[in-house]
């Protein structure tokens, strides 16, 4: 669908949080493209739908999402050959141990809880950006191309 390489996909249902997160990523002018998705269905469609896209460098995934919840999206991403090599970072307000366990069970790369205070929140997102866009080297292999894909 798009020719630009997607740097980061943010799956977040709260519009304020989504915008604040995106701000942090845009601030540094090194980001080519940010994709904001607001529920699990949009996420699945983005990765597996008829207009499936290039792999981003990282996916930030909230857990409590409408339609399809975050754990299910994670499960799908990590079990499909096309997407399993993309780093997925859960960024959620839940600190429930069961959620953390489930995320690791399905192969999450990292689990981060959203700090309550804005300043700490901004710092955490900034660190996320620094780690996953600058420090981490993303997968470089060829991903299987789905048949119904527009280039």
């Amino acid at each position: 669908m798009s020719d630009e390489k997607v740097d980061i996909v943010i799956v977040e249902d709260d519009p304020s949080d989504a915008e604040l997160i995106a701000r942090v990523f845009r601030k540094h002018n090194m980001v080519n493209k940010i994709v904001l998705l607001k529920d699990g269905a949009e996420a699945l469609d983005f990765f597996f739908g008829s207009n499936a896209n290039d792999q981003p460098k990282v996916v930030l995934l909230d857990l409590k999402l409408p339609k399809v919840n975050g754990i299910e999206v994670l499960q799908r991403l990590k079990s499909d050959e096309r997407t399993k090599n993309v780093p997925v970072v859960v960024l959620t307000s839940s600190a429930e141990n069961q959620d953390i366990k489930d995320a690791y069970k399905y192969g999450v790369n990292s689990y981060v809880t959203k700090p309550i205070r804005f300043e700490e929140f901004a710092n955490a997102v900034s660190e996320l950006r620094m780690y996953w866009l600058l420090l981490n080297k993303p997968f470089e292999g060829q991903t299987p191309v789905p048949t119904a894909r527009r280039s």
């Binding site: 604040l20 307000s93 309550i116 205070r117 804005f118 901004a122």
Partner: protein, 338 residues
């Protein structure tokens, strides 16, 4: 001659008969002797039998006595068994009552647990849902400052600063209130606590957040206490943080943590040489939201000391304060002995 033969024969016969008679007589005498012996034996036997019969009588009488005693014992046993039955019945009644009480207690405990869980879930929701919009408020205020800085005058920037300050303050209030409400419900996990070490640790943490302050902490030797370590830590955290806060006007502050015995009552204390307080307001100190200074002088939500009060009270202790304006304050508290 025949007569002579006859006489000889007759005298032989007579002699034979006499011999036989003598023999018979001897035999009879022997028999009579034996008979006498036998009679004597019989008499002895008879006597022995009579003795035996006497002994037997004695034994029989003994036996009868034993039999009687056994019968008495059986009677007593019967009585005791009857008593035992009564006791057993009484015990069973008590056990039934205890069981009824236990079931009631169990139900009450279940109910309490359910209520606590609900309250906890409520607090959790409150915490997250109340504070999420605060994050957005602070975040967007910051965004305005960053993106519209050139178009903002000093007033504008000041207003935005106030928005952020108040959002921060509200977050702090929510935290404190949640802590306060949780304290009433939490179970105490009691262990032995070394308060001196704990106080030093808490102080070190607090002082790291206020670099540049010159504060001397004196930790005196204090006896161990028995209590919930996390809660007692919170007490020290609040008291020491207050001491640090209210000694801010001092160039070099001195804070002391120790133990004092007055009128047979021992108490721990945190003493500072800060701005102190007017004793006429001492009763307001530990109330929720009660403050003796304005927010512009010293920040705070007014819940810190209420939390201290609640924790110490839950441990069965007392907390009180002494102070003098500009001369400092001392906060005392008691805890069970460790």
């Amino acid at each position: 001659m025949a007569e002579e033969t006859r006489t000889i024969t007759e005298s032989t016969n007579l002699r034979e008969r006499l011999a036989t008679l003598e023999e018979t007589q001897r035999a009879t005498l022997n028999i009579l002797e034996d008979f006498d012996e036998e009679k004597a034996k019989l008499q002895r036997l008879q006597q022995a039998t009579m003795n035996l019969l006497e002994d037997f009588d004695d034994e029989r009488r003994n036996f009868q006595r034993v039999q009687k005693a056994t019968l008495n014992l059986l009677e007593d046993m019967s009585e005791e068994r009857a008593k035992l039955n009564d006791t057993q019945l009484a015990l069973m009644n008590i056990l039934e009552d205890v069981e009824v009480e236990r079931v009631k207690a169990e139900q009450a405990r279940s109910l309490l647990e359910a209520v606590n869980r609900e309250l906890e879930a409520f607090s959790y929701s409150v915490s997250h849902d109340l504070r999420a919009p605060l994050r957005a408020i602070s975040g967007f205020a910051q965004a305005v400052v960053e993106d519209y800085a050139p178009r903002l005058d000093d007033e504008g920037r000041r207003f935005l600063g106030l928005i952020q300050d108040n959002a921060h303050r509200m977050g702090q209030l929510i935290d404190d209130l949640l802590t306060f409400s949780r304290l009433g419900r939490q179970q105490l996990m009691e262990t032995q606590i070394d308060l001196g070490t704990l106080a030093q640790g808490v102080f070190d943490e607090l002082i790291a957040q206020s670099p540049g302050r010159q504060i001397q902490l004196v930790v005196r030797s204090v006896p161990p206490a028995l209590g919930d370590k996390a809660m007692v830590r919170q007490v020290l955290m609040n008291l020491l943080s207050n001491a640090i806060k209210f000694t801010r006007p001092r160039h070099e502050a001195v804070i002391e943590f120790g133990y004092v015995v007055r009128r047979d009552q021992g108490a721990y204390y945190v003493k500072d040489d800060g701005v102190g307080f007017d004793m006429q307001y001492v009763n307001k100190l530990f109330g929720v939201f009660q403050r003796l200074h304005s927010v512009t002088e010293f920040e705070g939500t007014g819940v810190g000391l209420a939390i201290v009060y609640r924790i110490i009270t839950r441990h069965g202790g007392r907390v009180w304060a002494e102070g003098e304006v500009d001369k400092g304050a001392t906060f005392y508290f008691t805890l069970p002995e460790g």
